[in-house]
């Protein structure tokens, strides 16, 4: 399998009046063709900033890529000029944003917004582009595309608007699709439709998807691999089954534990105490240590490296060191893991 996109040790900082905010601190991951990588984490964990850096959409001049490489098909695009980037953005890499209300131009007809990229990147004439736009609207499941083409975003419902945004992102058959919380603002039923749509399109076009979300249910639905981010770092990365059925990092335990399942009967939800750290002065050592009931002494002094769990599964927690005391995940998370394991068996029998 070829690595389509490779991010190596990426760091992004924002210069603000109160100092340098280290939003992303050394993130490395790669995405293969036809694969979906989900990045999960709380707000402020740096997941959105990471993807904005990929597309060079960081607010300039305060947002800056401090170090690291972004290899797209082998070329380092981190230092591309704006002009070079314009050739890639929207063509090879495109993006679906969170809020379809604000990511569409309210003064432009939806059709024109879809055709824009086609005319620019694929040198199509207006007529050809229009035909393609109609096809795209059909592909994303918008009824009456001829009519919809000439309407403005405000005439679309939320779900339809997000479909239009997906259509724009897909217009030039991108190799990488970056979806930044594409369903967070939508209802569950609409969300399920959009997720199905994205999966169908991926099957057809074999594009890679980087999917940002904080909803672990959505992750379980779409992802092949999962990266968990905390305080600007990836703390655990692995195949979706490894993350959900065999999580190793206490933060992942906390995330999984704090979501009630439909059959959970527990009195109290497992919570991660406190709130995420201030990235103006990131804490010394393991950034998660102050909120971690399993923290070891070393956590406050030294940052844990990525420990290998399996060939595809890595986690940054001192608990995985060979000298670390054996720690069990909290009971509620363990039960959950066992519950998952038992549903596994049931599925196998059927």
């Amino acid at each position: 399998m070829s690595k389509l996109l490779e991010v190596k040790d990426l760091s992004v900082s924002f210069n603000t009046y109160s100092g340098e905010v280290q939003a992303v601190r050394g993130v490395s991951f790669d995405v293969e063709k036809g694969e979906t990588l989900a990045i999960v984490g709380e707000s402020g964990s740096g997941k959105s900033v990471t993807t904005k850096a990929l597309m060079q959409l960081l607010p300039k001049p305060q947002g800056q890529i401090k170090s690291g490489e972004i290899l797209f098909e082998g070329n380092d695009i981190a230092n591309y000029s704006n002009k070079q980037m314009q050739k890639i953005r929207g063509k090879d890499m495109s993006m679906v944003f969170q809020d379809p209300m604000t990511s569409l131009n309210p003064t432009m007809k939806v059709g024109n917004q879809i055709m824009e990229g086609l005319i620019k990147h694929r040198n199509m004439g207006r007529g050809e582009a229009k035909q393609k736009a109609i096809d795209l609207l059909e592909q994303v499941g918008i009824p009456h595309p001829m009519l919809r083409l000439n309407q403005y975003p405000h005439q679309f419902s939320g779900g339809m608007r997000q479909r239009a945004v997906v259509a724009i992102a897909l217009a030039c058959n991108p190799k990488v699709l970056i979806a930044d919380e594409p369903t967070t603002a939508l209802d569950v039923t609409i969300q399920a439709q959009i997720l199905d749509l994205m999966k169908d399109i991926q099957r057809e076009t074999d594009s890679a998807i980087v999917f940002i979300t904080h909803d672990l249910g959505v992750v379980a639905n779409v992802a092949d691999r999962v990266a968990v981010m905390y305080a600007g770092k990836i703390v655990e990365i692995g195949k979706v089954d490894e993350i959900f059925y065999n999580p190793k990092h206490p933060y992942t335990w906390g995330l999984l534990g704090s979501m009630p399942t439909l059959d959970s009967e527990e009195e109290e939800l497992f919570t991660i105490p406190g709130s995420p750290p201030d990235m103006l002065n990131p804490p010394k050592g393991d950034a998660f240590a102050p909120r971690n009931e399993f923290a070891l002494e070393i956590d406050t002094k030294m940052e844990p490296p990525m420990f290998k769990v399996s060939d595809t599964h890595y986690a940054a927690s001192w608990l995985l060191h060979k000298d670390a005391p054996k720690m069990e995940p909290p009971a509620s998370v363990k039960r959950r893991m066992q519950g998952f394991a038992s549903t596994d068996d049931k599925d196998g029998e059927e």
């Binding site: 997720l195 995330l255 534990g257 439909l262 109290e268």
Partner: protein
Amino acid sequence: MENEKLLEVKNLQKFFKAGRKNTIKAVNGISFDIYKGETFGLVGESGCGKSTTGRTIIRLYEATGGEVKYKNESVHGKKSKEDMLKFNRKMQMIFQDPSSSLNPRMTVMDIIAEGIDIHNLAKNETERKNRVESLLETVGLNKEHATRFPHEFSGGQRQRIGIARALAVEPEFIIADEPISALDVSIQAQVVNLLKKLQREHNLTFLFIAHDLSMVKYISDRTGVMYYGNMVELADSDELYRNPLHPYTRSLLSAIPLPDPEYERSRKRFAYDPADYDTDEEPEFREVKPDHWVRCTEKEFQQYQEQLNNK
């Protein structure tokens, strides 16, 4: 008394005018009761009228028709200032967006104490201060926070301030309108645990409005499902999730993504299209099984009963 009715909603309607000719029937005749000490969950997609219902119950909106009775007293209708004041003290609301529901120019102390001042619950400045500080501690903040402004807090903390404000007048009934939707997963669990703890300690009754079904299931004793201004199904939360009868409830349940990849791979989604169920008969809200209500036609009613008997 387990089954004392605290709130009775009868055929409540709330219409909005949209232009001269059109009316939007946001809430189109819904009825339900809320018992003392329970948590009643209200779910549905955006625009189904669940927030309007909550706001009409607390009289942020005047009802177009129908009745809301709190402890056998009508909420709507003409009231003296004193009556209104008394009523407002019993019922409080927690809003969805903690950043827009707190006045940015007021300190946390003043925000929380506003109700205390209005109802003259504190005799002097020291008592007022003590009350606010103890409220802050109840919701898991500390008393140094009292002099700060809302923008100095994170989303989860702001929601806690909103909760403290609601608790300040010692209400019996709290309407929580999507109190956790704007918060992060890890913070959501904190706030939900806090609400549960407060309910136990202060013997509160909750109306919990949300679109996150797994959270609603977790927190509520009974759940009502709304669809386009109507209540389509109402039952004990467990019963509702085990035996969803109305096709809309089934489609909602089948759409919730669960944090379980194995389940997600095998999941079959069930789409609801009201056109598939269109009949000439106007559906009515019927009790299919004790305490399990579904909006259905006569024919569907019998079909549902059979379905339940065969289980």
